[in-house]
């Protein structure tokens, strides 16, 4: 390469790299909006419609939408919101360690006034609004409104009806029926439960088992620090020992320690295991992709992991807060909420007309029953930042036999205590 050519190449490269950098300064006629839901998901479908409606009702305003990656937003939210490149409105994860942390760091707008003015609080029932409010310690359930959820999610029991019929089993609606069904399959040489130990599912099951013995007060102590948490009380011990028992009895495989969530879902959809205990986020996909057998889902007997979905939050630095509030208002409207429902999601404020699709109706009715019974218990990893990794790791060790159920509880307790010492710092 000759010298001149090289110099030219470098100059060209820098010219290209230099342009197309940051956005032009914020524009009062542009709403910069980020979310990380796939275009085919219930939320993706509903929000695309909301954007259309927003542009129709706000002539001259353009929505500049960017689809983001979940990981990217999780890792960089505080950096982005601290810079001039922050969007006007974005979807963000709910819970103390996520939205709570951002609110504590002063990066989010307090929506209290808008909530009162537009009546959003009326639309969000108890248990759903918990994740929208954070106090000055960044703990959910009280304090100021920092986010508005559009949808909800919960963990349930998916089962393969075809296989259940073959064994002469009915729907597993109680804990005893569920255990009996699994026992029958195990004796017949089928591993009944699809489970993933490399990611969230196994840790969630561990918590689900404890929840069968839990009440609201127990959940609040654990999730909202309203009182001392004893990880060796009857509730936790029941959960841990039952988990160990299920493993011993072969209700789920020792191999699941290394299985990812995706592979768990696939093994259920391929009919390899008759039962899967996981969240409503699978519902649409199971519905679309299972062709070879009949399936159904029933709520978990007792309290269950579940909460509002992710939140719309408005960054402190948003230049177009009014437009952002208008957009949230549209997403809360009955038309969009119904659209979300009909696309397979669980809306928080649907209209009075029930869904036409029987499965969708069932999903939403089951959810309504959970809300009415105050049975939503959030997720096990919420109380402490990084708790997720610690839980996955402890539960994995139980599955692989490195530690016993009680030792796992001790590990969880240690992590939990270490964190609660610094709550509000």
């Amino acid at each position: 390469m000759s010298k001149r050519l090289l110099a030219a190449a470098v100059a060209a490269v820098l010219a290209v790299a230099g342009c197309g950098g940051s956005e032009e300064a914020s524009d009062p006629n542009t709403l910069k909006l980020w979310h990380y839901e796939g275009p085919d998901s219930a939320m993706g479908v509903a929000w695309a419609e909301a954007i259309k409606q927003f542009e129709a009702t706000h002539p001259g305003v353009k929505v500049q939408f960017e689809e983001k990656g979940f990981e990217q937003i999780q890792k960089t939210a505080s950096m982005v919101l601290n810079s001039k490149d922050a969007p006007d409105i974005l979807e963000y994860n709910k819970g103390n360690a996520t939205a709570g942390l951002l609110s504590k760091q002063g990066l989010l707008t307090d929506l209290g006034e808008e909530v009162a003015k537009r009546g959003w609080d009326k639309k969000l029932g108890p248990g759903i609004d918990t994740t929208a409010k954070y106090d000055e310690r960044g703990v959910m359930g009280s304090g100021k409104w920092y986010g508005i959820p559009n949808y909800a999610e919960y963990v349930m029991v998916y089962y393969n009806k075809t296989m259940f019929d073959q064994q002469g089993l009915a729907a597993p609606t109680t804990f005893d029926e569920l255990t009996a069904a699994m026992d029958k399959f195990a004796k017949a040489g089928v591993t009944p439960l699809a489970l993933g130990g490399a990611e969230y599912p196994a840790a969630q099951l561990f918590y689900q088992l404890a929840l069968t013995k839990a009440d609201r007060e127990w959940v609040d102590r654990f999730q909202r620090y309203t009182g001392p948490v004893d990880f060796h009380d009857n509730t936790w011990v029941f959960g841990a020992e039952t988990f160990a028992k299920w493993l011993r009895e072969g209700y789920f495989s020792k191999d699941s320690a290394g299985v990812k969530a995706e592979d768990m879902g696939l093994s259920f959809m391929q009919g390899k295991h008759p039962i899967m205990v996981s969240g409503s986020w699978w519902y649409g996909r199971v519905q679309a992709q299972v062709k070879d057998f009949e399936w159904a889902a029933v709520p978990w007997p007792g309290m269950t992991s579940g909460s509002s979905g992710n939140l719309w939050v408005v960054p402190k630095g948003s230049k177009n807060k009014q437009l952002a509030y208008d957009f949230i208002e549209i997403t809360m409207s009955p038309a969009i909420q119904d659209k979300l429902r009909d696309a397979g999601g669980i809306p928080v404020a649907p209209s009075a007309t029930p869904a036409t699709d029987p499965r969708t109706k069932q999903l939403n009715d089951d959810f309504q029953a959970l809300v009415d019974g105050d049975r939503l218990a959030f997720y096990p990893d919420w109380p402490a930042p990084g708790f997720y990794d610690a839980q996955v790791s402890s539960v994995q060790k139980v599955i692989t036999g490195q530690i016993g159920a009680h030792e796992a509880l001790t590990e969880l307790a240690d992590y939990y205590e270490e964190n609660t010492a610094s709550v509000g710092k």
Binding site: G258, D263, P385, S393, K397, T400
Partner: protein, 300 residues
């Protein structure tokens, strides 16, 4: 080298050539590293004001079992990413260059080399997905193949068994890494004077004899480069752990860089994560300095 005339040893103006690189290094690496050391002396959640805690993070590190365990795992990864690829790379490169290249033409050798190098090109996010399919416990490709040939007993839960996971990760890393030394060594072999080989052959040396007495000593600089860069890469290894195991099962494949990442982004204990990263950096630097001294001696 003392035969070099004084004019060439006139060193002053050569320093000018270091200015662009030096300034960039200062802005992008040295200043941020100093900032990182600063952060490691505080307690900080990544936003807001850091709180000065002095050496607290470091004293905590000293008694942190997870941290030391992660270093032990890292030793295994150095074997998998530096030592084994170097040995395997030498043999493969020699076989391709000296044997395939001679007997079947250099085109064959180039195609085979491309195949071996390809994993280096694969984005790691993709590699993680593919390998988790292959290594899946029940219906993964590897276990299916083993069962198909009647070796059911060998089918394992590759990434889910705490005693095996680290070795499995080592295997994947070897697959990723081996192409890099092969390319560098083959390039180096191209520079070896063929008359040395002819002389050895006349003396009746076997292929292996020539490999050990001619090829290996002649490409010693390349071997040094590969060993050092691969060791550094192994000590920094992050992405493969992130996509394959996230440090699991039960922390059995955790490594320092992933541990610092966890502290930065999962636990939001940025100060502590910075301390982990600082210790790791200092360690790598010491190792590098020792390495370069040895290499310098070797060159004199």
């Amino acid at each position: 080298m003392s035969l070099v005339p004084a004019s060439i040893r006139d060193r002053g103006s050569y320093l000018l050539f270091l200015i662009p690189g030096g300034l960039l290094l200062l802005a992008v690496i040295l200043v941020p590293f100093a900032m990182n050391v600063g952060i490691s002396l505080t307690e900080w959640s990544g936003a807001g004001t850091p709180e000065w805690v002095g050496l607290d993070n470091y004293t905590r590190l000293m008694s942190d079992g997870t941290f030391w365990a992660s270093f032990r795992h890292n030793v295994g990864l150095v074997v998998a990413m530096a030592i084994l690829p170097t040995l395997a790379g030498l043999v493969i490169a020699a076989a391709l260059f000296d044997f395939i290249g001679k007997h079947f033409g250099s085109r064959h050798a180039a195609v085979l080399r491309a195949c071996v190098y390809l994993p280096q090109v694969l984005p790691i996010a993709v590699a993680g997905i593919v390998w988790s399919w292959i290594l899946a416990p029940r219906d993964g490709a590897l276990n299916e193949v083993l069962r198909a040939v009647g070796l059911d007993a060998l089918a394992q839960n590759w990434l889910g068994d705490p005693d095996l996971a680290l070795f499995t990760v080592m295997g994947v890393l070897l697959w990723i890494q081996v192409g890099y030394p092969v390319v560098i060594f083959m390039a180096g072999m191209g520079r070896v004077d063929p008359s040395l080989h002819e002389a050895a052959e006349l003396d009746g040396a076997s292929w292996w004899g020539r490999f050990f007495h001619v090829t290996v000593p002649q490409i010693r600089p390349e071997i040094f480069v590969v060993l050092l860069t691969c060791t550094i890469a192994a000590l920094k290894v992050f992405a493969p752990i992130y996509v394959l195991t996230r440090g699991g099962p039960g922390g059995s494949t955790n490594v320092p860089s992933y541990y610092s990442f966890q502290n930065f982004f999962e636990k939001t204990q940025v100060g502590y994560g910075a301390a982990v990263a600082t210790v790791l950096t200092v360690l790598i630097l010491l190792l590098t300095a020792v390495f370069l001294r040895v290499q310098n001696r070797g060159e004199r």
